[in-house]
């Protein structure tokens, strides 16, 4: 059978740093193909070469057996390659129909847009994927998941032969992921190939046919997914021995539970206008308290309240390190609280700035010496964190936007660790981060917790919570409903706690 996509011997370097050397990718028509690899392995570079964002230095790209001439994203689209990015390239303020039909609107005889046909056609396209929504409503009024599906629907309506999904599920909840998978299977049935990039290995086993494994800019393997094991994939990705990995455990958060120290803060019945109704939690030195619950249960909202981003409507937070109220992030920081946000791009990095400047952003006031930034101390500190956190960068002056997701996350983690905080709130610290970096980030956190740091951990991955947290506060609809204590928590018991109370809530 002829390959749909055939990339071979691809080479690419940026400013002398090799990003790809001898990478390859073969996709058959109508298959669901995954690419896995650590951050920095070259996945996104390879895809960006395919979609015309970057130009390759060497190598060959064939589409349907013909040498590809794609050199811009627009040409890729015309060649039948559609990309669904995490950040959607749609117009949220316009209707669903307008978004799906944009550029290809049906016309009446007078040359105006034939809305009746447009709405009908949009409805038909969406219903094929089992999405039943009001196509006249603003796209932005729907959830990210629906928006993502609309983007996919649009791509398919433009006769895409290959749909690339880059971390498509990272902002979806379980139910939405199921819908997305349904769409992927539907695409496959229609003979459309899907290139699927995800850090969640479990997902690959659910929907993918084959997987390409990349490491250090090279394609190191291509497997039929049904013939692999999760451990096998990870070991191939990391280039390490499977047994060694198994011995170390799947997450790096687990550790000896030490006696928790003095209390750091106590939040009692706090509520905010962002949907937090009544949450109570305490945190002590040297412990990790997890916040469990479904999307929208109030996990991030709790973090925002603790960090002074939302004003409390009722209840109070008693800070035992420094007294007083926290009304702004700046006050929270001077009270010894750090907050690693879940939205790295929008709320974390300053893209134009260097690794150094990003890392010391929160620390600046403390680096002040006679009116200026103490560059010597700053450089030493940054160098120390680059080494101790294993941040892969060509130097501390490299702009942070050039780093891979996992390394950006480490820089942001260093931003807070450098402050030597008492409390660190981590909102999805390992989302969008590959398995290797994830393990490293978790180990770093554990190391600091052992030294007395108190951590509030939010994670959608039950495995991370169950293995990492000393206690888990279960949230639902803005209320803290129960508390589980380790040792003794299992994924099943956590899910049961969330589900059980959920049912009760539904009944009551």
């Amino acid at each position: 059978m002829q390959h749909l996509i055939e990339m071979s011997g691809i080479k690419k370097s940026f400013a002398g740093v090799v990003a790809l050397q001898n990478a390859s990718l073969h996709i058959e028509p109508g298959e669901v193909h995954a690419i896995i690899g650590q951050n920095g392995a070259g996945k996104s570079t390879l895809i960006k070469i395919l979609t015309g964002v970057y130009r390759r230095d060497a190598g060959e790209v064939k589409i349907n057996g013909n040498p590809s001439t794609v050199s811009t994203p627009r040409e890729a689209q015309d060649a039948g390659i559609a990309t669904i990015y995490q950040e959607l390239s749609l117009v949220p303020l316009r209707s669903v129909t307008e978004n799906v039909m944009m550029g290809y609107e049906p016309r009446t005889r007078l040359g105006t847009i034939d809305w009746k046909t447009a709405h009908a056609r949009t409805r038909e396209i969406l219903e094929r994927f089992g999405i039943h929504i009001d196509v006249r409503a603003q796209l932005g009024s729907y959830s990210t998941a629906i928006q993502q599906l609309v983007a996919i629907a649009r791509a398919v309506s433009l006769n895409a032969q290959l749909v690339i999904m880059d971390e498509a599920t990272s902002s979806l909840d379980d139910q939405e992921i199921e819908i997305l998978f349904g769409v992927v299977r539907e695409l496959k049935k229609e003979g459309v190939a899907v290139l699927y990039i995800s850090h969640f290995l479990d997902e690959l086993y659910q929907i993918c046919d084959r997987v390409t494994i990349m490491r250090d800019g090279q394609t190191v393997g291509q497997r039929v997914i049904a013939e692999t094991t999760k451990l096998g994939l990870i070991s191939e990705m990391l280039g390490r021995d499977p047994e060694e990995i198994e011995a170390a455990g799947m997450t790096g958060l687990g550790g000896e539970t030490t006696e928790p120290g003095r209390p750091l803060f106590e939040a009692k019945d706090i509520s905010t206008k962002r949907g937090l109704k009544s949450v109570s939690l305490t945190l002590r030195e040297g412990e990790i308290v997890g916040l469990g619950g479904l999307l929208g249960s109030g996990r991030t909202e709790t973090a925002r309240a603790l960090f002074g981003m939302d004003t409390l409507r009722s209840g109070g937070i008693q800070n035992h390190v420094v007294g007083g109220n926290i009304r702004t992030p700046a006050e929270a920081i001077s009270a010894g609280i750090g907050f690693l946000t879940e939205d790295r791009k929008r709320e974390g990095i300053v893209p134009h700035m260097s690794v150094r400047e990003n890392m010391t952003l929160a620390l600046l006031p403390k680096l002040k010496k006679m009116g200026r930034v103490d560059r010597k101390r700053e450089t030493e500190l940054v160098e120390r964190f680059i080494t101790s956190l294993g941040i892969k960068t060509s130097g501390m002056e490299q702009p942070i936007r050039e780093l891979s997701g996992g390394n950006q996350q480490k820089v942001l983690l260093a931003r807070w660790l450098a402050l030597e905080p008492d409390v660190l709130i981590l909102d999805e610290p390992t989302r969008g981060v590959d398995v290797g970096a994830k393990f490293e980030i978790q180990s770093i956190i554990r190391e600091y917790v052992d030294k007395g740091l108190g951590v509030v951990l939010i994670s959608s991955e039950f495995e991370e919570l169950v293995e990492g947290a000393d206690r888990i506060i279960v949230l639902r609809d803005g209320y803290s409903i129960t508390e589980l204590e380790n040792p003794g928590i299992t994924e099943e018991s956590l899910i049961a706690a969330i589900a059980h109370h959920h049912d009760e809530g539904a009944r009551g």
């Binding site: 940026f14 400013a15 907050f339 709320e347 990095i349 300053v350 006031p365 060509s394 002056e397 490299q398």
Partner: protein, 333 residues
């Protein structure tokens, strides 16, 4: 990939393989400057005469001073349309003060007041601009439009719309004084640029300003006092505009509120953009702004000296801005 921890002093560009293009785009301003200089040396009569240099320095000074302030405001992701009007306001105030009976009686104090008071008023305008933008979240272009319209009006009301002429050698030194043969305001520009550059490169405020422009949310969550930093940028910009207004008045020994700083906002924005400031914020090349101001001044001078009408000079200026923005866009890739 290997891990290197050695510090690199210059910002690394990801597009080194496009070596030639990146050279041109990064040093576009310098290339343009050299081209204009060569053109003038060949074509314009008497271009190499020292007098030409002095004229250009004294004329570029005001654009350059305002452009430095504008660069800071743009670096926060804002824009300041009120600079020309603030120049008019401070330029109108100064003669009113040193020609007053009180100042005639106390010449030294009068002179000091005629410099300090207008600049204080300008700074107050900056506080107003900054407060609207950062505390009330008014769009910068709208917030500064208020003084753009009313500032000149206030200046005209203060002077009854009259042209104020005066003879005050001490005050005129600001615009006509010379040190080692070079105009005083030329030195002033260099001192101001060096100070602001130092602030941006080495102080906490400078770093925070760039962070606010680069990603305001991230800066706020990192404890950066975003509102204060933004107000600071508008205040500095307004203060520098006030100073520029004084210089214009000093050069002419006359103050015409209707004309001081007219269209200065456009020159300053153009100088900043030509100098490499990104309109979306996050970057503040101070010496780039000076270079931009010099280029704009020289283009104006070139056309004027070769008998091209003023209106055509405006079109040339527009052309430069388009070119600068185009180069900037290309560089982003």
């Amino acid at each position: 990939m290997t891990m290197q921890n050695k510090p690199v002093t210059s910002a690394s560009e990801p597009t080194a393989f496009k070596f030639e293009w990146s050279m041109i785009s990064r040093h576009g301003g310098v290339v343009a400057l050299i081209a204009i200089l060569l053109f003038n040396i060949l074509i314009t009569p008497n271009f190499l005469h020292p007098q030409t240099l002095f004229v250009n320095i004294s004329q570029v000074a005001t654009i350059a001073i305002v452009a430095v302030g504008m660069t800071l405001v743009i670096a926060t992701g804002g824009i300041d349309l009120s600079v020309g009007a603030i120049m008019a306001l401070s330029g109108a105030l100064a003669p009113l003060i040193f020609t007053s009976p009180f100042a005639e009686a106390n010449p030294e104090l009068g002179l000091a007041l005629s410099i300090v008071v207008p600049i204080l008023v300008a700074l107050a305008c900056g506080v107003f601009n900054g407060a609207l933008v950062s505390l009330l979240n008014v769009q910068p272009i709208v917030a500064t439009l208020i003084f753009f319209i009313s500032g000149r009006g206030i200046a005209l009301v203060l002077t009854n719309g009259n042209l104020q002429t005066f003879t005050n050698p001490a005050f005129s030194y600001l615009g006509t004084g010379k040190i080692l043969g070079f105009p005083f305001q030329g030195y002033l520009v260099l001192i101001i640029a060096a100070c602001v550059w130092w602030v941006m490169a080495f102080t906490v405020f400078g770093r925070q300003l760039l962070a606010v422009g680069g990603n305001e949310r991230a800066a706020e969550l990192s404890g950066v006092p975003v509102k204060r930093v933004k107000i600071g940028a508008y205040v500095i910009c307004a203060g520098l505009s006030g100073l520029a207004g004084l210089i214009v008045v000093a050069i002419n020994s006359a103050s015409d509120a209707a004309r001081i700083g007219n269209l200065m906002e456009l020159d300053a924005i153009a100088a900043a953009v030509v100098g490499g400031t990104l309109l979306q914020g996050g970057r503040a090349p101070i010496f780039g702004a000076i270079l931009g101001a010099v280029i704009i001044q020289l283009v104006k001078y070139t056309l004027l000296a070769n008998g091209v009408a003023d209106e055509v000079a405006l079109i040339a200026k527009a052309g430069i801005i388009v070119l600068a923005v185009y180069v900037q866009q290309a560089r982003k890739e």
